[in-house]
């Protein structure tokens, strides 16, 4: 199987607001909306013409162990 290239979100997310929901464009190339709630972000993304954004927060490194 061919090697795949890592998805590098460092530039896209470098100024992303901490602790807020983020909607990325489907190609992961840009932030289309940010907001305090997931609903707000999804509505804003739809209004921006992004029908199926990828939603996430920028996770703190310390928060990933469960």
């Amino acid at each position: 199987m061919a090697t795949v290239t890592p998805i590098d979100l460092t530039e896209v997310l470098k100024n992303a607001p901490a602790g807020e929901w983020i909607a990325l464009s489907h190609d992961e190339g840009r932030i289309v909306a940010t907001g305090k709630t997931l609903d707000d972000v999804l509505k804003a993304a739809t209004e921006a013409g992004e029908e199926q954004p990828i939603v996430l927060k920028v996770p703190p490194v310390s928060a990933l162990i469960l």
């Binding site: 090697t3 795949v4 890592p6 997931l38 990828i54 490194v61 162990i65």
Partner: protein, 146 residues
């Protein structure tokens, strides 16, 4: 199916003064419940017992929480955490047109304590129990096969 790691920006701290980024084994996963769907990331986490997502996602998918399907677990916090479970349809794909997406029914939990993380966890029960997963961290990629 082969997936790339996802590289996030990360701040340095006293323990890791040179850290600027953090690569994680994440999958884009489309969650569906009836007519509603949502595309998000989930961490492929062999240390997690269950598959769990932030509670906000349940609300968007039309899943009622709290619900009777409670699961009490503990992580790094002293206090017990509660997830509410329901069955969703999950679809994984690496966006390679030559490969077919993987779709399966997933009994997933939703909890408030993952809200601050904003990502889901694909753990042992429901993900690792269903797929063979091989990590190649050195090359920032991993394989998932049925």
């Amino acid at each position: 199916m082969r997936f790339p790691y996802v590289v996030f920006p990360a701040k340095s701290d006293a323990a890791f003064p040179n850290r600027r980024l953090c690569a994680r084994p994440l999958i884009k996963v489309l969650l569906r419940k009836g007519p509603r769907s949502l595309l998000t990331y989930a961490i492929v986490d062999s240390g997690a017992d269950q598959c769990i997502f932030p509670a906000s996602l349940a609300t968007h998918l039309g899943i009622t929480i709290p619900n009777p399907n409670t699961y009490v677990f503990s992580g790094t916090q002293d206090s017990p955490q509660i997830a509410y479970f329901d069955t969703v349809t999950a679809t994984l794909w690496n966006w390679n047109p030559a490969e077919a997406a993987i779709t399966f029914e997933l009994y997933a939990g939703f909890c408030q304590t993952l809200e601050h993380v904003g990502l889901g966890l694909l753990g042992q029960d429901g993900f690792f129990s269903r797929f063979t997963v091989n990590f190649d961290s050195r090359n920032l990629q991993f394989d998932v096969s049925a």
